[in-house]
């Protein structure tokens, strides 16, 4: 039986080259102000189903992203990598590269923790 192996942490280069992808189960709509509102379907666990018989439990949980969050969400199209998102943010909002990098990386980490996005990491090419 193979021993359980911890994944090696990503290098900075790998992190910046990785591509964020939106969770397809989540729907996104625009508010009147142009911000993105995410509609997250509720989990269909047994206790949610039981509760919903007695109480009103919304079918969707809504999260409204702010202007910058909406901008980053729009960039997560499965083709744009993290480095390109940082560059786009710098250009659009006239931020310093480090400012944009710190906030984008933290924000993508939060979205990934909440399972709103996935991160595709490019494998290193075999030397052979």
């Amino acid at each position: 039986m193979r021993p359980f192996r911890r994944q090696k942490p990503l290098s900075r280069e790998q992190s910046l080259a990785s591509v964020p992808l939106r969770n397809e189960a989540i729907k996104a709509e625009r508010t009147d102000t142009g911000d993105v509102r995410l509609l997250i379907p509720r989990r269909e666990t047994w206790w949610v189903r039981t509760l919903s018989r007695f109480f009103y439990v919304p079918t969707n949980h809504k999260i409204t992203l702010d202007e910058i969050g909406s901008f980053v969400w729009d960039q997560c199209d499965g083709k744009t990598n993290v480095r390109q998102i940082i560059q786009a943010l710098c250009k659009h909002y006239k931020l310093h590269r480090k400012e944009a990098e710190v906030s984008v990386v933290a924000y993508l980490r939060t979205l990934a923790k909440k399972r709103l996005i996935g991160i595709a990491v490019l494998k290193k090419q075999d030397k052979s």
Binding site: L16, I68, K94, L95, K98, E99, V102
Partner: protein, 301 residues
Amino acid sequence: MEGYEQWSRLGWQGICMDVPATWCPGRLEGDYANGYLRVEDEEAVCLEVRWETAGRRVPPASKLVDKYLKQLRKKTRRSSRDADVVRDMAIRRLNHLDHEAFTWNGEFAAHSVLAVCSETHRVVHVRVFFQEGKTRKSLARKIFGSLTTAPDDGQTEWSAFGFAFRLPSAWRLEESGLRTGCLRFLFADDNDQLEVVRFSLAGMLLRATPFTRWFRETFRKALKKYRFDLTTTEYRDCPAVRCEGVMRSMARPLGLFRRKKRLTALVWHDAATDKIHVVRLVTTTVDDPQLEAVAASITSD
């Protein structure tokens, strides 16, 4: 030079040098006496600076290099690879400092310069890292040649993340906040205080709030102790707010024993760079010109 066409100035705790524009500080520790600064590009750590205050008698740079190399060899003794060291390199533009430049190529590879500043009694060690086989000698020499370790004409230059300003060297950094969207520096000189702040994303900050009200709310704590007036004006062709105030006090015998602290502040919104700059001075001096001098020296990308 190695594709570095644009350069920017990096200045921290009185140590300044030119670095490629794509490099920016990653870690800042310590104070004026002892500290550490790390500079990175998108991929790796490129440069490190360490400084410490020497005692009364500072040994020459060559002896300090001897000591440093001895310590480094002890640390890397277990490594299978012997390090190549090239010494006795001088940087012409650093002739005003006692210095020695050397290259260490072992477990890590770096071009280094160790400089002793007799004016500030500090020893400064700068390392430019390179990958094996891809030496950055000319880049390192340019960086080392631009190094300054002492105030210029009594003024210290502070420059990081595209934000630069100069102020008299008597001011010491008390606090700094380097967060996304807000770079904040708080300096102290005896009982006086000087705060320099740059806010990014100014358009977003001021979208729903008028400029004057934004200043009042953002600096509510700092303004609490003062009776102040705000006047809208222009500064550098940008909308600006000037604040002048005096510390609130209980009944006091007409300031005989203690001068009241005065608050002056200048805030301006530069739409071209989408930034708001704030300079706030607390001092007992009436009509102190330092605020205007610091504000005039500010440059921001």
